[in-house]
């Protein structure tokens, strides 16, 4: 479905960030893209979704193809219409807008009333927390709720491919597990997923295939299950970033928070 071939991206005409990156997201799969800080993961999403302009970035080589159509020169809105939506790094919900209004922006490319309300219903079912707070200002939601809103907002365009840029960042382990389940659910309903993560364990546990990138290039790729077992991967990624779903650490986080509240 999505094919990124030999992509080269330069910022400000001088800073070369992607150096011949190639990845593929087959129809119906979850593909994980892993890499350390600064590897170029976010730059890759910008290149796919047409947001490089905003950052003075340019594709200088390579192609991005969706279902056989070249899309690297399209406007962001055309790319959303063609079926790719991303959940941006850092959630980026519209904090001054309500939950429902955020969802309206997500469905802005959709002009069919029925389809919009169906998408809205689906988001409400998927995230009951949001259903309770439809008129709440998004800025007042918790980090986890904001991440759910960001995902819900992206789903409003009924994407064929959903790109998530570090959705687990800054979330408590229990929430990470919830987001992970959500991604699986979205995928099972037929949406392909490109999951960008530093939390390799979480990503590989649900992905079909995985890519590992370093300084703008893919340095390793393979079946997710194989990558999970690979010694190098374990040492460099799994060891460093740990298991997000660990119960003990979650309780510790909660305990710490409660104590902090008591003390302050």
């Amino acid at each position: 479905m999505l094919e990124v071939a030999n992509l080269e991206v330069v910022y400000n005409e001088v800073i070369l960030v992607l150096r011949g990156l190639s990845i593929e997201v087959p129809d119906g799969q979850i593909v994980a893209l892993l890499g350390a800080n600064g590897a170029g993961k976010t730059t890759t999403t910008r290149a796919i979704t047409g947001l490089l302009d905003v950052h003075e970035g340019k594709i200088t080589k390579g192609t991005v193809t969706l279902a056989g159509e070249r899309i690297e020169n399209l406007e962001p809105s055309q790319i959303v219409r063609s079926g790719i939506t991303q959940v941006m790094e850092g959630r980026r919900v519209f904090a001054e807008l309500t939950v429902d209004e955020n969802l309206v922006t997500g469905g802005i490319t959709n002009t069919d009333r029925v389809s919009i309300s169906e998408a809205h219903d689906r988001v409400m079912t998927m995230f009951p927390v949001l259903a309770d707070r439809r008129t709440a200002t998004a800025g007042y939601l918790s980090g986890g709720e904001q991440q759910m809103l960001a995902i819900g907002r992206a789903l409003m365009s009924n994407p064929k491919l959903l790109i998530l840029d570090e959705p687990s960042l800054g979330l408590a382990p229990k929430l990470v597990a919830q987001i992970r389940d959500t991604i699986v659910e979205i995928n099972q309903s037929g949406t392909s997923v490109l999951l960008i993560e530093q939390n390799a364990n979480m990503a590989l546990s649900i992905a079909d295939y995985g890519y590992i990138m370093e300084t703008g290039k893919i340095v390793m790729d393979g079946e997710a299950a194989k990558l999970l077992k690979d010694e190098d991967v374990q040492e460099f990624y799994l060891g460093l970033h740990g298991d997000g779903g660990d119960r003990k650490s979650f309780r510790e986080v909660k305990h710490y928070k409660r104590r902090k509240r008591w003390l302050s």
Partner: protein, 324 residues
């Protein structure tokens, strides 16, 4: 009943009521003008210095449409004031189209360039539109055909100009309309764009279209406020004139006091400045020996400066400018 309510009414209460309406009306005008600035600033982060010129163009359009072409009177019957309001809408629409053309030709190509350059471009536009429109206005006096002219009515002993009521009503309609618009899909897209342009792009919002709508709305508001500012007692005899255009800049203290990116700020800022100017003019008049004549004109700036000392980004302004 004609003649303008001047400084003194029969008693203190009447004077107060008179001053109150005068202040509300001037505040409404400032708020209308401020709303035009704010809409464009919110969407594009540019202070549109061409608002004054667009205001002048708006008055000129009204005069052509209503007086010269007798639109819509040549087609339909009914009361004259209804005709006039229809012509007002047409003039505002014409100015909105002018705003769209201006945006497409000069602002759109500049997207991504430094904001300072954009502001300077609007200043250049101001000069160009103004020179053209001045010529048009100056060769023949441009009558606006305001239905109520300089007429007044009485509340108790207080004399109130119909222009005041019209300005207050117009501001009410404009702000209510803006508030309603912000709830529509397009309005939500505009607010989202104002908040985080990149995230708006990522949703598939056509940011260029949002800019265009903001410019059209801003230009229409400039036209409407320019026309109302040309009414007696503010403008001389209801003619399109330079004063209507310069008036736009008198609203800048209101915009800055309220906060450049806040619609509520435009309303409150406009009212505060209007009240300060009118009430200072009325009740400090006996101190002209100390503070000099013409001090009212300075009052808006004093209020703005004091306000900014307390709140540097305006009363309702956003501190950090969220831009990518």
């Amino acid at each position: 009943m004609s003649g303008l309510p001047l400084v003194l009414a029969a008693n203190a209460l009447d004077t107060f009521v008179q001053t109150l309406f005068k202040a509300l009306a001037l505040g409404s005008l400032y708020a209308l003008l401020a709303l035009g600035f704010v809409l464009i600033y919110k969407a594009t982060q540019t202070i549109n210095f061409a608002q004054g010129a667009l205001a002048l163009a708006g008055t000129w359009f009204l005069s052509i449409i209503f007086m010269d072409w007798e639109i819509p009177g040549r087609w339909i019957g009914g009361p004259g004031w209804v005709h006039w309001f229809i012509a007002l809408l047409l003039a505002a629409t014409a100015t909105a189209v002018l705003g769209l053309i201006v945006e497409r030709l000069t602002i759109r190509p500049m997207i991504g360039e430094p904001l300072f350059s954009m502001a300077v471009i609007t200043l250049g536009l101001e000069v160009v539109i103004r020179v053209v429109a001045f010529d048009a206005v100056n060769t023949t006096p441009r009558i606006l055909g305001i239905p109520w002219g300089a007429e007044t009515f009485k509340i108790g002993g207080a004399m109130v100009a119909w222009s005041y009521i019209a300005a207050i009503g117009m501001a009410g309609v404009a702000f209510l309309g803006t508030w309603r618009f912000f709830k529509t899909r397009t309005g939500v897209a505009m607010r989202a764009t104002a908040f985080d342009q990149e995230a708006a792009l990522a949703q598939g919002i056509n940011v260029g279209r949002v800019f265009a709508i903001a410019w059209a709305a801003g230009a229409a508001l400039a036209a409407i406020s320019g026309i109302f500012a040309s009414m007696p007692p503010w403008g001389p005899a209801g003619l399109a004139s330079r004063d209507g255009a310069f008036f736009a800049f008198r609203a800048l203290p209101a915009v800055i006091l309220g906060g450049l990116d806040s619609v509520v700020g435009a309303l409150i800022g406009g009212l505060i400045i209007g009240f300060a100017e009118v009430f200072a003019g009325q009740y400090l008049a006996s101190y002209t020996g100390v503070i000099g004549t013409g001090y009212q004109q300075v009052v808006p700036y004093v209020v703005m400066l004091v306000g900014l000392l307390v709140r540097p980004y305006g009363i309702f302004g956003t501190a950090e400018v969220r831009r990518v």
